[in-house]
Amino acid sequence: MPIIQANHVAKAFTRTKAVDGRFSAVRTLFTRATETIHAVEDVSFSVDEGEIVGYLGPNGAGKSTTIKILTGILVPTAGQIAVAGLVPWENREANAMNIGVVFGQRTQLWWALPLQESLRLIGRMYRMPEDAYRRSLDQLTELLDMGPFLQTPVRQLSLGQRMRGDLAAAVLYRPPILFLDEPTVGLDIVAKERIRAFIEEINRERKTTVLLTTHDLEDVERLCKRIIIIDHGRVLFDGQANDLRRRYAPSRLVDVTVSGEGVAALSGVLGALPAGVSVVSHEGMRASFEVQPERVAVSDLIAAIAARTPIADLAVREPAMEGIIRQIYEAREVIA
């Protein structure tokens, strides 16, 4: 049973066209010309309860607009949406109770208030009973290690601390659905990892459904089994991350370093490679191979080398998601 459903959603914005050339500022005032921007052309998908879905696309693809429609901020020009059974923009307040939202680029906390005061206010807005609020705050303080800065005014928090505070605010009232719009933007590696671990934990423990947009593919590799890629307001791909990997870059890379005496033996190996293996590079004691797993097992290649010479070092690499996504963004075609 899908908890989020989007059917042929479209959103167009109209804006006054700026005039170029002399006195452009004045002339813009008197022009009636407008242009229509189709931020979302036609997007359909559904998300099941408990899924973590990566919602990806290049800048300006329509990701944030979709999130803003799903959260009830924007009214779409066409299409139907149900989020936990509600039409978001028609039931804004009821929908708000069902969802948690983090916009990485802005905060829902109050600058002037200490973090804990901000969270208490959120608790009241979401009508939490005192004991439920306490329990939730204690749990989140521990999970996100917020103890040291609970009493600090939000404007003085570091970006990493603020983002943890924003995540806490989004899940405090235990919403069944979480929308995360670039939750790791601008964070250092340690802070990013903490956020990822937290998302994983909340999803595992509470079965929270998560829709995540990001430009950091580490987030995707770590969290999302399923990804949806959009561009120009249309869905390019919707499926398992593994399928995408298999289709776009099925091969594995094997880097081998042999010990000093094995240089000649390594050259011998290169002359008699199993079918499905090709040499990417070879220099002295080191060689890199590309292996097609459907034709030959990586272990067969390793066994073949080991039979001739001792191996000093060995690494098997999967192609990084980044390369795959780059190919898709550049091709800009729908993947059937």
Binding site: I73, V75, N91, E93, A94, A96, Q105, Q108, R124, P176
Partner: protein, 276 residues
Amino acid sequence: MIAPSQSRSFLGRTFNPGLLDVFRMGVRRTYAFRTWLYLGILQVFFQLLLVKAVWKAVYGEATQVNGVSVDTMITYLTVVGMINFMIYPIIADEIHTRIDDGQVAVDMVRPIGFIRQMLALELGHSTGRWLLLVVVVPGLLLLGSLAPPSPGAFAVFLLSFGLAFAVSIQIWLLVGLSAFWLLNIGGMRSMVGLIGSFFAGSLIPLWFMPGPLRVISEWLPFQAIAFLPASIYVGQATGTAMWQAIGVQALWLALLALAVGRVWQMAQNRLVVQGG
């Protein structure tokens, strides 16, 4: 917790306890910019001094003009000064700021309607200002006169003041919502401010305005903000006229509230969130 579906009504039915916090934040807002606040108080005093001087000169030796005594005139100006201090909405600027920096997106995912959040904030800010009446009223008494009307008239004045406050907030709410289309409401704000203060009768009471101007004033909502409550206070509107004034205010309030509801419905389709 999956909440049941609710109606789209912008006033809503169930009270959200978070509104009290928004209200308190509004009170805090009043005192966030103290210099500005103190200058605002000085401005009220200064304006009273100036218009009082002008009107005293106009009256000269006359004790009455058009049946209005010089004392009544001074009380009128003082009451208007007090009303202008008490009705000083920030709601338009609040909405404008939120549209301008995109924070409106955050406001709209909260479980309290956007308009209600803005109204609670405004109510808090105004309450914060009203606490300062302990300074403003003695100052006004020193510079002008607040000769109290009959207890009955005073009670109706309070009702009229409440309506004036509500009408003013609706007007500024409309100005604020225009930011959904205009993105920058600076021009709109100063225009409404200027026209509003003139046609509200802040400088010249409507009873002294020449024919055509008076007609225009009577057809605009601004008289409901200062002129009508002040004329009830000074006893220029009594009996039927007094209740007629209340009726005019209530009518404007209803019309403006309808307009706000309508404009808000349209604004939601127009919303563009700045800065992604």
